[in-house]
């Protein structure tokens, strides 16, 4: 397979192709929309078929990455480096390593499923809906690939706007409040980041035109710690913490999820939350290892992560709305990822990456299922349901399997991720890992209780009984089967995923260890890199 | 009239009219009905006219009586009578004693500051150099009598200003007429 890929020079054009295809697709969809001159009834089928075709093409195209990338090699795969704005020293540089490869594949494989998920639920203004989804994909892929800080920031914003519109236009009742809150939350965070990026660029330029290349800045921070490194790290950390979302900055997530349309919340949960953790793993921690590993900073991050885990689980226990429950469970799962990152061992980092991917798959599937039942019953309140397993057995089976994977029962992907994070973080942070492990109990409690209120319990409400004969149709089953297979496959045989991310995780840990040792040596001499805490 | 010859007479009358002016001003402010207020204001103006004469500005004194007291106050009274606001005691005109106290306090504060400024060295820069003072004195006693010293600067250096004031008066008249005119058909928008 790799010879075939090298034969067609896959490394050279794949990354820009992955970015441009959705943009072209968006233009196509909009053009097609214009031809239909806005009568939605006839336009809908055409729009969604075209969009699905483009997303499938994108997915097939990206599959090559699975074999092409050789995890061991330290340099970026598929690197493309073009001048973009020479006066400011901004270059269009993209490239990926093991971590980014996994997240890109997650994105390209989830998108067609999200489109299929909202096949019949979105009926008005479908062309602009699918065009926005396509632009959103470019933004997300761009964030994973960017190796230039300004390009990263631009893609960060490109990803934000379509999501704001999707929630704002096609959302539920309180969509305006939710989308505005979502936008302002992320925007405030990312503005801080912009300041930090500019500061870094100037520092790297040393008086001349600023340099924003990731490798250049990495070399600079390795040589001598940047003045004000603490503030730059904090700026990055806050921007990513809002996106993760970490404990105090998470209140936008439940509102955004509840009000977003099905595809919107699937993408929001499966991919957009991973921007924050990816940001930590790619930018915040490697560029400023001595600040990230500084005892107080690390302590604060770990405390917030573990509070997020327990707090998310506890609050999810009492949610009346199923989507809000899953949103808070996402806060809890991503708390695991942050714990894994800041425990800084190879096992915990790999565990964090596995949790990122498995959370994407399981929570994505959960939101799709919620979307399906919402299309039939038009309600998300748990007490409106009861005894659905009697009338919709296929739906009940899928929901049970996905809930079990989200709880983290062994044999599913959820367990592999959480087990590795807890196992890896125990040697360095025993008490944090211990407290985080208690969330294993709460996870089982809130999800099983919710699942029981939906599919078990007596079938007494007439609306539920009317669901007889309205089980999942072939489209929905076809949509869920790949996700269920992924859940079981990653649970039973996660080796391929682990080997692909091991090299990148190892490099990160060694980089941070080296930096920490050098600062310790320096600490004995002149006090911690001049900041003097 | 040379004031050096009758210093006593001069200063006595000066204080008399000063106090009269202050008293009637105070009464003017506190009257409820606009007509009574107007009358006291006219009285203030007469006292000021007397002061001007005592200060040697006879022309200004005359003008004061003619223009201010005669014309402007008459227009005021005319308007008061036109809108028959004479007996406006019904409307509690004053703004409640809290407002009055505050205004009083603010006024006294301003007065105090002005007085303090007057004694401070800041005022010293304003006092005229001796030479200038002398030159001003002869001008008044020069040939053209009382009107001369005013007419010269008025029609030589400040001729432009003089013409502008006439333009101003013309616009004021036209404006007043336009605003005051009753619109036919429909009330004032």
């Amino acid at each position: 397979m790799t010879q075939f890929l090298d034969g067609i020079g896959y490394a050279g054009w794949i990354l820009p192709a992955l970015l441009l295809l959705p943009l072209l697709g968006a233009v196509l969809v909009v053009a097609q929309g214009a031809m239909h001159k806005g009568d939605d009834a006839s336009a809908m089928p055409a729009a969604r078929q075209l969009a699905l075709g483009i997303f499938l093409a994108e997915a097939v195209l990206s599959l090559g990455l699975w074999w092409a990338l050789d995890p061991a090699s330290p340099d970026w795969y598929g690197k493309v480096d073009l001048a973009w704005i020479p006066q400011w020293g901004v270059r269009f540089t993209i490239g990926i390593d093991g971590i980014a490869q996994m997240l890109i594949l997650l994105t390209t494989l989830i998108m067609p499923l999200a489109v299929l998920g909202s096949w019949t639920s979105v009926r008005e203004k479908t062309h602009s809906y699918y065009a926005l989804l396509l632009i959103l994909t470019t933004g997300m892929l761009g964030v994973f690939m960017a190796l230039d800080l300004v390009l990263f920031y631009v893609m960060w914003e490109v990803m934000l706007v379509p999501m704001y519109l999707i929630i704002g236009v096609w959302g539920g009742q309180r969509r305006l409040y939710a989308s505005l809150k979502f936008f302002l939350y992320t925007m405030v965070g990312s503005l801080l980041m912009l300041v930090a990026i500019v500061w870094l660029g100037l520092q790297a330029g040393r008086g001349g035109p600023p340099v924003f290349g990731y490798d250049a800045i990495m070399v600079m921070t390795k040589a001598a710690p940047v003045t004000g490194a603490m503030w730059v790290f904090l700026a990055f950390a806050i921007a990513f913490a809002v996106k993760v979302p970490m404990f105090p900055f998470h209140t936008w997530l439940p509102d955004a999820h509840v009000e977003a349309p099905t595809a919107g919340s699937v993408i929001l949960a499966a991919i957009m939350l991973k921007m924050g953790t990816f940001g930590f793993v790619r930018f915040a921690v490697p560029l400023f290892p001595e600040v990230a590993m500084h005892p107080t900073v690390r302590m604060v991050m770990l405390v917030l992560a573990v509070t997020g885990i327990v707090y998310g689980a506890l609050v999810a226990l009492v949610q009346p709305d199923f989507k809000k429950l899953v949103a808070y469970s996402s806060v809890s799962h991503l708390g695991f990822v942050m714990l894994g990152i800041f425990a800084m061992t190879v096992e915990s980092l790999q565990g964090a990456l596995v949790v990122t991917i498995s959370h994407g798959v399981s929570t994505g599937a959960l939101f799709l299922l919620i979307g399906m039942i919402y299309e039939r019953r038009h309600t998300r309140q748990l007490e409106d349901f009861g005894g659905i397993a009697k009338v919709m057995p296929i739906f009940a089976t899928c929901l049970t399997i996905v809930a079990l994977s989200s709880i983290g029962v062994p044999g599913t992907n959820g367990f592999v991720g959480e087990f590795l994070v807890l196992l890896g973080s125990f040697p360095t942070q025993p008490w944090f890992s211990f407290v985080a492990a208690t969330s294993v109990i709460f996870a089982a409690a809130y999800l099983l209780w919710a699942v029981q209120r939906i599919i078990y319990n007596p079938l007494v409400k007439p609306e539920n009984q009317a669901l007889k004969g309205h089980d999942l149709n072939w489209r929905e089953i076809g949509l869920l089967v790949p996700l269920l297979l992924a859940i079981v496959w990653m649970g039973v045989y996660p080796k391929p995923v682990l080997t692909r991310t091991e090299a990148a995780a190892d490099r990160l840990v060694r980089g941070v260890e080296a930096a920490r040792l050098s600062t310790l040596r320096k600490a004995d001499g002149t006090g911690l890199n001049g900041e003097g805490r | 009239m040379r004031h050096e010859f009758f210093p006593l007479f001069y200063s006595f009358h000066f204080y008399l009219f000063g106090l009269l002016a202050i008293a009637s001003a105070l009464l003017f402010v506190t009257r409820k009905s606009p007509v009574a207020a107007a009358m006291w204001l006219v009285n203030v103006m007469f006292c000021l006219a007397a002061e001007y004469v005592l200060l040697g500005a006879q022309f200004i004194g005359a003008i004061q009586v003619l223009v201010y007291a005669g014309a402007i106050m008459v227009v005021f009274l005319f308007v008061v009578m036109l809108l028959n606001l004479g007996h406006a005691e019904a409307v509690t005109d004053l703004r409640g004693n809290a407002g009055r106290l505050a205004a009083g306090f603010v006024g006294l504060a301003m007065l105090a500051e002005v007085m303090v400024l007057a004694q401070s060295e800041f005022a010293a820069e304003l006092t005229p150099k001796a030479a200038l003072a002398r030159q001003a004195a002869e001008a008044i006693d020069g040939p053209g009598g009382v009107i001369g010293p005013i007419a010269a600067p008025l029609f030589r250096e400040h001729l432009l200003a003089f013409e502008l004031t006439s333009m101003l008066l013309l616009t004021a008249i036209v404006g007043a007429v336009v605003i005051g005119k009753k619109r036919e058909g429909g009330d004032a928008r």
Binding site: - | I22, V44, A103, G107, I150, P153, E157, G180, D187
Partner: protein, 97 residues
């Protein structure tokens, strides 16, 4: 005599200011403004003894301005009165921001 006349002018000016602040009747407000102008004229005249007659030219100017202002002001008051049947300043707040 200069100090006393300046003091008198200051007192009259203050009374005028107090009148402006306290009275709610538009016409009386104008009168207070007239009083303040007279106070200023007095100080002009007082100082013209020291700085020459230009002071008094100024007084003439001030009088013309006062006259114009009174005319236009009263016209406005009449227009408002026709509309609102009152000249109480509290009612007239069309310019509310």
């Amino acid at each position: 005599m200069l100090a006393e006349s300046l003091a008198l002018s200051a007192v009259l000016f203050t009374i005028g200011v107090i009148g402006v602040l306290t009275r709610r009747n538009a016409i009386i407000l104008f009168m207070c403004v007239e009083l303040m102008l007279n106070a200023v004229n007095l100080s002009f005249v007082a100082l013209s003894k020291l700085y020459g007659a230009t002071g008094q030219v100024f007084v003439v100017m001030v009088m013309t301005v006062a006259a114009a202002e009174a005319a236009v002001g009263l016209a406005i008051i009449i227009a408002i009165f026709r509309h609102r049947q009152s000249v109480d300043l509290e009612d007239i707040n069309l310019l509310k921001g």
